[in-house]
Symmetry: C2
Subunit: 655 residues, 2 copies
C-alpha cells in the first residue's frame, strides 16, 4: 500500500482526474453540472498532460451530446479507450447510442454528474432522474456517494468494464458531489496502473473494426435471430457483479479503501433499514449512528452497483432481523408503482424470498427525497425511520417538502440534529455572485485542507441565475473526515460580505450560540451596531455572538481594487479562526493570489498583497450592549400591498 | 348505437384514421413500422380531407424525430390539438420533449407502432423496448392489441388526455398490428365527435401561451421549489385511470365495444394466470380457451393501461383463486431484476397485499417473448402455463427461442395447437418481393372482407431486405372474428408464385391434410409432376393434397404484362376457393385493378382485365399418382463443403 497524497478537490475533478488518465479519447459537449469534467480534460489535453500509457488523450468537442455519443461509439469501434462526461438532457441525447454500445458489449465508462430532467421546468440541480432514464440501456450503473468515491469509482468502473465487456455509467450527485470540495487521498499513477490489466486493453483493441481483422458488427437482424442474439449477452451481465466486487477487492488491497456492491452500516440486529444510493447515504449513516446511540435498532444499506442489480448480494448485505425497509429514490416517475430503486428492491426480496423459502417478507415502502438538490438532512432521515416504526407506514411518500395537496410528505423536525462533533468548525459566508466570495472561500478551504492535518469540506450554494444573485459558502473543517452532504445548519462563524444583506436576510438564523459574526460594514464599530436591525441585535445578544466589522469596501478602494473585497474578508476570516497561525494563513492567501491572479500581471498581484497586509488593521470587534437600540427593523419580504400570489407564494419562495 | 360500417384496414391506418380527425397539427418524421400513419396523414392533408371541426390538419415533416417532437411541443403551446407518429429510435429522440410535455400537463396523444431498439443489431421489427424506454417520461401508456383496438384506443386516448391533462402514448405492436389487415367496425364521425368534449378542447386552447393571456411556462426552477412543483402533478396521475375507464365506458355506450384497463378472460377460479400486454394477449386467450376446454383452470389478464399503472384495478381484475402468475414482457432490460411489466405487477401485488392484509402472495415469475416480432404461438403460451404448474417455476425465462447458452428458454411443442375452427380458411402464398404477390393478396383479403359477411385477416411476412427477398402472405377468413396475431401454422391453401421455390423451400410443410396446392409452373400438368422434387411429391401424396398448376408467366407475357403474374394468380386463387362466386370474384379483382392501376392509363387496365379473363383457361389440376416418380431431390440448404459456421449457423438461419 502506498502512502496517500491528500488534495482538496471537487467530485468533477476527482472523476475527471482518473478518467483522463485511463482513456485515449474524450468526446465532449459540456453540460451543467458535469461541465468541469469536460473542461478539465480539454485543458489537460491542451497542456499535453499524459495518460497512463504516455500519450495525450484527444479531446473532441461536438455539436451536441448526440454527436458526442456518436463519436464515443465510433472511437470505441476503432479500439480506442474512450469516455465522455455528461448530465440530464445531454444524457438523454446519448441514449440511442448507449443501447448500441451496450448491445455490442463494448468496454467504456461514461461519467455523469446526475441532474434533474426538464419537466414542469428546467433545473440545473441534482437528482437521479437522468441516470434512471438510462437504466433501460443495458449499461452498468455505478453510484459514487462522495468526492473520494467519485475518484475511486472512476477507476473501479474502468477496471470492471474492461473485464466485463458491459459498459458503465459512473455517476455521482450533481451540484453536491460534483461541486463539493473535499479532502481526498489522490490515487498515484502506479495505483491506477495496477488496476488496469493490459491484457484486457489489448483484447479491447483486438475487437476493433479494421481491415486487418475483417469482422461484421452493427447489422440489421430479422425475427429469425434477433431475440436469440439479444439473449446472448446474459452471461456477461450475470458475471458483472462479481467482476465489480473483485475490482473493489483489488482496489482495497492497493489503497486500504474497501467498497462493496451493497454496503450495510448500522445495528447488526436492525429492525428498520433505509436503502439508498448516492451522497444521501452519508446523511442516513449519520442518522443511524445517532439513533443507535439512543438504543434504537436501525441501519442503512448503500447501493453502489445499481445495474446489473444483484438480488443475492443485496439480500446478503441486509441483516436477517430486518422487518421494515424504506427505499429512498432521488427521482420521480409519475404513473409507476413506486420509483425504480424501490421496484428493484421489492422484486429482489420477492425472488430471493422464494429461492430461500423464507416465509417472512419484510414490509417495504418507497419514498422520494432530494429532487433537484432539495436539502436532505439527518432530521429528514430520522422522519423516515419514525414512519417505518408505525404499524402501517406510508408508501410513495415524499420527505423534505410540505405536500399539502396530496399529503405524501412526512413531517420532520427542522431543528439541528444530531449535535455536531464539537471539534468541527462550521462557517457560513454570504456574498453576491461574482463578488469573489466563492472564489476566495474555495482558496480558503483548500489552504486549510492542504496546509494542515485537518479534514475540510467546501460547498457553495448559488442559484441558476449565477452572477449577481446571492451566494452562500459552507465551509467545514476539523480533525475527523467530513462526510456531510448537506448544508450547515448552525455555524460557529457567519460572515456577511455584502452590507445590504443585514436588512434583507435573517443572517443569524443559522448562527449557533457563541458564534462569531463578521460584517463588511461601511460604518465604525458604534455606528455599525446602531445601524443593525433590532432583530439582528437581539439575535446577537440572545446567542452571545461576538460581532466584528471591517470596512472591506474602503480597504479595497484604497488599494485600487475597486469593489473586489474577497481577499480582505478572507484575511479577516483566518484572523478570527485559529485554524492556522495568522502569519502563515496570510502567506497561504498570498500563494493563492499568485496562482489565481499571476496571469493578470504584477500590479494586480501587488495590490492583492497590499490588501491582505492592510486588512487586519481594519478589523474591529464591536462591543455588544445588553439591550437593543436604534429604530431600524427588517422590512417584510414583500410589500403588504402586493397581490395575494406574491404575498402567499412568491414571498415564501424568497424567504 | 349506430350501425357499423365494416372495412378492411391495417392498424396503422386504423389509428391514423382517428388521429387525423381529432387533431389540427401532425408533426412527422416517418420511421418504420409507423411510417404509413405519417404518410396517410400527409396524403389526406394534401387531399384536403377535413378533421372533426371542418379544417384540414396541417402536416409538417421535420428533419428528424427530435425536430418533430419539438414542433409538437411548440404547437401544443399555441393551443393546437397536435399529434405525431413514431417508433424505436425515433421515439428515443422525442424523450427530452416528452418529459416537458408531460411535466407541463399538456393534452396530446403520440401514436407508436412499437419496435425494437437497435442493440447488438438494428431491427425494424416489433417489440416493446421503445415504449418501455418512454415509461419514465410521465406519459400515460395505452396498449392496443388488435387493429380494432388501434382504431378505438386512438379515440379513447384522445378523449382521456383532454380530460386528464396527462399526455398519452398510444401504442400497438409494430409489424403485427401495424401491418395486419383486419375487418374492423369503422367509427362514424358522429361517434368520434361524441367522444370529444368541446369544453375540454376550449380548456386546452385556453392554456395556450399567447399575448392576450400572458402566462409563464417553461421556466428554470431551483432547489427551493422544483421538488414541490414536481409533486404538483400527483392529483392528475391519480385521476387518470378512472378517466380512461370512464372514456372506455362512454365508448362502449356508443359502439357496443366495452374495454377495461385490465381485462381478465378465463376460468373464474383460475389457479394460473398470464399477465400480458399487446397483440399477444389474443394468443393467450386462444390458449386459455383451449386449456379450460380440457378442464384446466387458467386465465389471462390483458393490460391495456400500462401508465399510470393502477394496482387497485389490476388486483380487482384478477380472480381471488390465483396461485401463480407469469408476467410476459415483450422487451429485455439487461441488468434489471426482471422486466418492467413484471416489476409493476410484483410491486402492485406486494402493495395491495399489504393494504388488504391478504396473507397469501401468489408466486409471480417473469418471462420474455416475441422480441423483434419473434413468433409467439398458443403452443408457447401453453408452455408458460406448463411451467407455472411446476413446484418451482423458472423466472426471467424466455419462450420462443432455444437458449442453449444460459438455459432461460422453456420447451414448447411446435405442432399445430389448438385445432383451428373448421370453418376458418387459411391460405399461404409464397412470392418474391416486388413481384406483386403481396399487393394482390392485400386486394384479395379486402375483397373477401368487404364483399362478403366473412371476417378476414391478412398478414405479410418479408424481411428487412424488402424488394427481391421472399414474401409469404398469410390470409385467413371465416364466419367468426379473427383475432390470431400469429402466423398460419397449417394452411388449407398453399400457392407458390415463383417456380424456383419448389426446389429450395419446403412449401408443403405448412399444408394441412387435404389442402390445395397452386403452383405457377412453366410446365404442363404431367411435366409439372415429374419436375417436382421427390420430397414434395411425397408430401402431396401423404397429405392427400390437390395439386393445380397455371403457367402464369406465359399468360402474363401473352397479355403484354412482362413478369407481372400477380393478377393471374389472384384469379386462380378465387377460382379454387369458394369464398365468392367466381364471376363476382373476377369483377371485384377488376374493380381493384381499376383502383390500383387506373392512374397508369387505359392500356394497363385493359391488359390486366384481359389477364384476369384469360387466367382460368390455363388453370389445370394435376392428377396425383399413388407413388413418387422422377429423380429430382431438394438440394441441401448449403453445400456440404461450406465452412463450419455456414453449415451450422447460417444454414439454420436460412432454414
Amino acid at each position: 500500500m502506498q502512502t496517500h497524497s491528500f488534495k482538496m478537490m471537487d467530485g468533477n475533478m476527482a472523476a475527471a482526474y482518473v478518467a483522463y488518465r485511463v482513456n485515449e479519447v474524450c468526446a465532449i459537449y459540456p453540460i451543467t453540472p458535469s461541465s468541469p469534467m469536460a473542461e478539465l480534460a480539454d485543458e489537460w489535453s491542451a497542456s499535453k498532460v499524459l495518460n497512463l500509457w504516455g500519450t495525450t488523450p484527444e479531446v473532441i468537442e461536438m455539436q451536441s451530446e448526440g454527436g458526442a455519443a456518436g463519436t464515443v461509439h465510433g472511437a470505441l469501434q476503432t479500439g480506442c479507450l474512450t469516455t465522455t462526461f455528461t448530465a440530464s438532457q445531454g444524457l438523454m441525447l446519448m441514449l440511442p447510442n448507449m443501447y448500441k454500445i451496450a448491445g455490442e458489449l463494448t468496454s467504456a465508462v461514461f461519467h455523469v454528474a446526475a441532474r434533474s430532467l426538464a419537466t414542469q421546468a428546467l433545473s440545473i440541480f441534482g437528482d437521479h432522474s437522468d441516470v434512471m432514464a438510462a437504466r433501460t440501456t443495458g449499461f452498468a450503473l455505478l453510484a459514487s456517494a462522495s468526492v473520494q468515491e467519485a475518484h475511486d469509482f472512476a477507476l473501479i468502473a474502468q477496471a470492471a468494464t474492461l473485464e466485463a465487456r458491459v459498459p458503465f455509467l459512473h455517476f455521482f450527485d450533481g451540484f453536491r458531489t460534483s461541486h463539493e470540495i473535499n479532502k481526498i487521498a489522490v490515487l498515484a499513477d502506479g495505483q491506477i496502473r495496477s488496476m488496469i490489466d493490459d491484457k484486457l486493453v489489448h483484447a479491447h483493441r483486438a475487437r476493433a473494426l479494421n481491415p486487418d481483422n475483417p469482422f461484421i458488427r452493427g447489422t440489421a437482424q430479422n425475427p429469425d435471430v434477433y431475440f436469440q442474439a439479444r439473449e446472448a449477452c446474459n452471461p456477461y451481465y450475470a458475471a458483472t457483479p462479481a467482476i465489480v466486487q473483485q475490482a473493489m477487492d483489488r482496489f482495497a488491497r492497493l489503497t486500504g479503501r474497501h467498497y462493496h456492491l451493497y454496503d450495510y452500516t448500522g445495528a447488526e440486529d436492525a429492525r428498520r433499514v433505509i436503502v439508498i444510493m448516492g451522497s444521501a447515504a452519508a446523511t442516513v449513516r449519520a442518522t443511524v449512528a445517532a439513533l443507535n446511540a439512543s438504543d434504537e435498532k436501525v441501519g442503512v444499506l448503500q447501493v453502489r452497483l445499481y445495474r446489473p442489480f444483484s438480488p443475492e448480494d443485496l439480500i446478503a448485505a441486509l441483516p436477517l432481523t430486518v422487518e421494515k425497509i424504506a427505499v429512498l429514490d432521488r427521482t420521480k416517475e409519475p404513473g409507476a408503482v413506486g420509483e425504480p430503486l424501490y421496484q428493484d428492491v421489492v422484486a429482489s426480496l420477492v425472488e430471493m424470498g422464494r429461492k430461500t423459502a423464507t416465509t417472512r417478507m419484510p414490509v417495504v415502502v418507497g419514498g422520494r427525497y432530494g429532487l433537484s438538490s432539495k436539502e436532505f438532512t439527518p432530521g429528514m432521515a430520522r422522519a423516515v425511520f419514525a414512519e417505518l416504526a408505525k404499524t402501517q407506514p406510508k408508501t410513495s411518500f415524499t420527505v423534505g417538502i410540505h405536500d399539502d395537496v396530496t399529503h405524501t410528505s412526512l413531517e420532520y423536525d427542522t431543528a439541528q440534529w444530531p449535535t455536531p462533533d464539537p471539534q468541527l468548525t462550521e462557517a457560513l459566508f454570504f456574498g453576491l455572485g461574482s463578488d469573489g466570495t466563492v472564489g476566495a472561500n474555495k482558496n480558503s478551504i483548500k489552504i486549510i485542507g492542504e496546509s494542515t492535518n485537518l479534514y475540510a469540506q467546501g460547498y457553495f450554494v448559488y442559484d441558476s441565475k449565477k452572477s449577481g444573485a446571492r451566494t452562500i459558502s459552507h465551509l467545514r473543517f476539523g480533525p475527523q473526515p467530513i462526510d456531510a452532504p448537506y448544508l450547515i445548519q448552525k455555524a460557529g462563524f457567519v460572515a456577511c460580505h455584502q452590507y445590504a444583506f443585514v436588512n434583507s436576510i435573517d443572517l443569524l438564523r443559522h448562527a449557533r450560540h457563541g458564534a462569531t459574526f463578521l460584517l463588511n460594514s461601511p460604518h465604525d464599530a458604534q455606528q455599525s451596531w446602531v445601524s443593525l436591525p433590532q432583530q439582528v441585535q437581539q439575535a446577537i445578544i440572545d446567542k452571545n455572538i461576538r460581532f466584528f466589522v471591517i470596512n472591506a469596501s474602503a480597504v479595497a478602494r484604497d488599494q485600487g481594487m475597486g469593489s473586489r473585497i474577497n481577499i480582505i474578508m478572507q484575511a479577516a476570516f483566518f484572523a478570527l479562526t485559529d485554524v492556522l497561525p495568522t502569519d502563515e494563513a496570510l502567506e497561504r492567501i498570498k500563494d493563492a493570489v499568485k496562482k489565481t491572479y499571476g496571469s493578470k500581471g504584477e500590479i494586480t498581484v501587488r495590490r492583492n498583497f497590499a490588501a491582505v497586509d492592510a486588512a487586519l488593521h481594519h478589523l474591529v470587534e464591536v462591543p455588544v450592549p445588553d439591550t437593543i437600540s436604534g429604530t431600524i427593523t427588517m422590512p417584510p419580504t414583500v410589500s403588504p400591498a402586493a397581490p395575494v400570489f406574491v404575498r402567499h407564494v412568491t414571498a415564501r419562495m424568497m424567504e
